[in-house]
């Protein structure tokens, strides 16, 4: 089936002439689509004349890029040093339990939440820390997780 990529044309034209624009372009496309699908990467490759393998290499090198569809809300669990020594594992367990995810799964079946681990959110003084979309929550206890997630769940209805 022929897919329609015209939504990307504007972004591609903005970045086309700039040097080193591949990463910002992929960031912008991901912002729009939520993730980078294979046909999209192929389309960008055709449009920019950069080999698909090279684009794929860039997309897989950086942890910010996702090649699978993701949930509406991104939950970032900090696994930095300060959080690690302040029971980040307990927070992670509480999150996975609340979302009903098994170890290794990252996105809830209803596509509401995707959980990712990050190295440090830069709010180490409030460890342990998570970030939901662009809101940061600190000084967490496992029992606080449910309340935080509910705020985002409610926003949907």
């Amino acid at each position: 089936m022929e897919q329609d990529f015209s939504r990307l044309d504007h972004l591609i034209s903005v970045h086309r002439e700039k040097e080193g624009a591949l990463i910002p372009l992929l960031q912008a496309v991901q912002e729009l689509d939520g993730y980078l699908s294979r046909p999209v990467l192929q389309y960008i490759s055709d449009e920019l004349g950069i080999p698909a393998a090279e684009i794929y290499g860039v997309a897989t090198f950086y942890s910010i890029f996702r090649l699978q569809p993701q949930g509406k809300h991104i939950v970032r669990i900090c696994k930095g040093t300060a959080c690690h020594v302040s029971d980040a594992n307990g927070i992670k367990a509480a999150l996975l339990e609340n979302l009903g995810l098994e170890a290794g799964e990252t996105t809830t079946p209803d596509m509401q939440f995707t959980v990712v681990e990050v190295a440090c959110l830069g709010c180490c003084s409030l460890a342990p820390v998570i970030m939901v979309d662009d809101q940061t929550f600190g000084k967490l206890k496992p029992q606080m997780i449910a309340g935080i997630l509910d705020r985002f769940r409610d926003a949907e209805v």
Partner: protein
């Protein structure tokens, strides 16, 4: 008439602690009582552990800083101040009165952080009022060589980790002949547990810009990049605003302040790869490629971004430049030590009471940082180790706390100065687990180019995991040391060369703990779950059955109101019973 000012700290740390609700409450009040005070915004004064922080000033009482405020208590405190009374609680700092945290602040020396938590980072006027861009005006009247000489004489060393002489680096780049040169600010800040750059960029972005503009003028560059990690959305927002404001005032752009010198600045968002903090990898990343380090030479000063001469400095390095130009190399050298002049910003985190951002003169001891600036330990558990320098650094034990902060003394302990992350650990932290944690990090972040870094770190991680799971053998320690040596030798960039440091320092200072895991199958800190043994103390157990109900493998038995028993052969060490017991009847060890 005196105008009272209420300033709310709205940096990431403040927002995470609920500062926005406090701000909204104040704004609502101001709507109902117009002119009651002026409501202002600032970033973080470094005392993140007291967030949300609000400063009151403008009246005879002098500046008073409140900590841990919330929407409920803020208005009464503000009203007390307004009526000429010292607020009755929550005071952490006060200019003219005693206050709990005054001493912690007084023991610092703030030049890089001089504006953080004081000015509104979105207001270029605030920055100028405190002397901002005066150094640039002064620099533009000097010759480029005079600026480079001044920086070289100051003895400033790169704050990004390696401690290379900034003046020398600038001189090399200035000497490279080219039609085009770049300057870059490294704000990738990948070390977990470090947040100096975030706080500085959020709190005083113009200071970094001013340093970069001066540097570009001195080295003959007309274009620059700030490479900032994407996890710092607020820092990026403030940088964008600062660049725009600086352009409007012609500190950036064409023909800056009528001198004929032009400079434009872009922001590049990082995409989540620790190795991109390494300068050659960072350059490839800006070029839109995979961020793989390449062999130096050629150094970026000869051939860097798009093969043009390029100078990269860390955020904090750039933030020192304006001060040095303004106050002179001699004044700078009056702070710190002979070989490491000036100050250093550190991010204190972990089990320390005063976690946050501090700036101290080089030469202070690590112990003084923890106890006189950081306020000591957070809980009553005693100090065990200070982790300095993140995944490239090491763990310094208690008996080395008289080590002074300078590049060479810290390196002598086996750790490194690094960019400024300090994580304090107490006796509840297992050092083998910490070593495993860091190896897991470096192993994940290795770009995969060098075999030893790619596979050697993986082998080390496997051994460490084995030890924490009680399957270690005595030969493992020699193997770890052997692998460490080879990884250091066989890696091209600093990531691999420093990856073994956390293991080597813990082996050096906490060898007993490794041996306890290997020989006695015991984790003295009670962290490595597989090695834990949970037991019920029959004298304390009242038979409430909470543990038996929580146990996922049903290995706890006993009658109601009678002491229970754990069947050790079935126990999976999940710790659920320990968590649910309300009577402290379960011991772990």
């Amino acid at each position: 008439m005196e105008q009272m000012i209420v300033k709310v700290g709205l940096a990431s740390c403040g927002l995470a602690a609920g500062a926005e609700d406090v701000y909204l409450k104040l704004r609502e009040y101001l709507g109902e009582n117009p002119g009651a005070f002026r409501l202002a915004e600032t970033a973080c004064n470094g005392m993140c552990f007291e967030e949300p922080v609000v400063e009151l000033c403008g009246l005879d009482l002098g500046k008073v800083t409140l900590g841990r405020v919330n929407p409920e208590n803020i208005l009464p405190l503000v009203q007390e101040y307004k009526s000429g009374k010292l607020p009755s609680s929550n005071i952490i700092l006060a200019e003219r009165h005693p206050a709990v945290r005054n001493e912690l602040m007084a023991n610092q020396k703030r030049i890089v952080l001089q504006n953080c938590g004081i000015i509104d980072p979105l207001s270029i006027g605030d920055y100028e009022e405190r002397g901002g861009y005066a150094a640039l005006r002064k620099a533009l009247k000097l010759s480029p060589q005079a600026i480079i000489d001044e920086i070289q004489n100051s003895g400033l060393r790169g704050r990004g980790g390696a401690g290379f002489s900034t003046g020398l680096k600038w001189a090399l780049c200035a000497a490279s002949k080219s039609d085009k040169k770049y300057v870059i600010c490294n704000a990738d800040e990948g070390d977990p547990g470090a947040f100096m750059d975030r706080s500085m960029l959020e709190g005083d972005p113009h200071k970094v810009l001013e340093g970069m503009i001066i540097g570009a003028y001195a080295m003959g560059s007309d274009e620059g990049y700030i490479y900032c990690r994407a996890e710092y959305p607020l820092a990026i927002k403030h940088l964008n605003a600062a660049i725009k404001a600086a352009q409007e005032r012609n500190y950036l752009g064409n023909n800056i302040l009528g001198t004929g010198f032009s400079f434009k600045l872009h922001i590049k968002e990082g995409a989540g790869a620790f190795v991109c903090g390494e300068e050659t990898a960072l350059i490839h990343s800006i070029e839109g490629k995979r961020g793989m380090p390449t062999i130096r030479p050629p150094f970026p000063a000869e051939r860097g971004l798009w093969d043009k001469p390029t100078n990269i400095n860390n955020v904090e390095t750039w933030a020192n430049i304006a001060w040095i130009i303004q106050n002179g190399a001699k004044a700078f050298r009056q702070m710190g030590t002979q070989r490491s002049p000036g100050t250093k910003v550190f991010a204190l985190a972990g089990m320390i009471a005063g976690s946050g951002l501090i700036e101290i003169p080089m030469g202070m001891t690590l112990g003084d940082i923890i106890y006189k600036v950081g306020g000591g330990m957070k809980t009553d558990k005693p100090f065990k180790a200070l982790q300095i320098g993140g995944p490239s650094g090491g763990c310094v034990p208690a008996d080395l706390l008289d080590t002074i902060v300078d590049y060479d003394s810290i390196t002598a302990t086996g750790a490194i100065m690094g960019s400024g992350g300090m994580v304090v650990m107490d006796t509840g932290t297992c050092m083998v687990d910490v070593a495993r944690y860091f190896l897991n990090f470096t192993q994940n972040e290795s770009c995969g180019k060098c075999t030893f870094c790619r596979i050697g770190t993986r082998r080390m991680l496997e051994i460490l995991t084995r030890i924490t799971e009680g399957r270690g053998v005595p030969e493992d320690l020699d193997k770890l040391e052997d692998l460490a040596k080879n990884i250091i030798k066989g890696s091209l960039c600093g990531l691999g060369q420093s990856a073994p440091n956390p293991v080597l320092t813990t082996l050096k200072y906490f060898r007993d703990e490794y041996l306890a895991h290997i020989n006695d199958k015991r984790c003295p800190a009670g962290v490595c779950t597989v090695l834990l043994r949970f037991e019920i103390n029959p004298d304390k157990c009242i038979g409430c059955t909470a543990c038996a109900r929580a146990c996922p493998v049903n290995c706890i038995s006993g009658y109601v109101k009678k002491p229970h028993l754990i069947d050790q052969s079935q126990c999976i060490q999940c710790g659920q019973c320990y968590k649910v017991c309300k009577f402290d009847a379960i011991t772990k060890g």
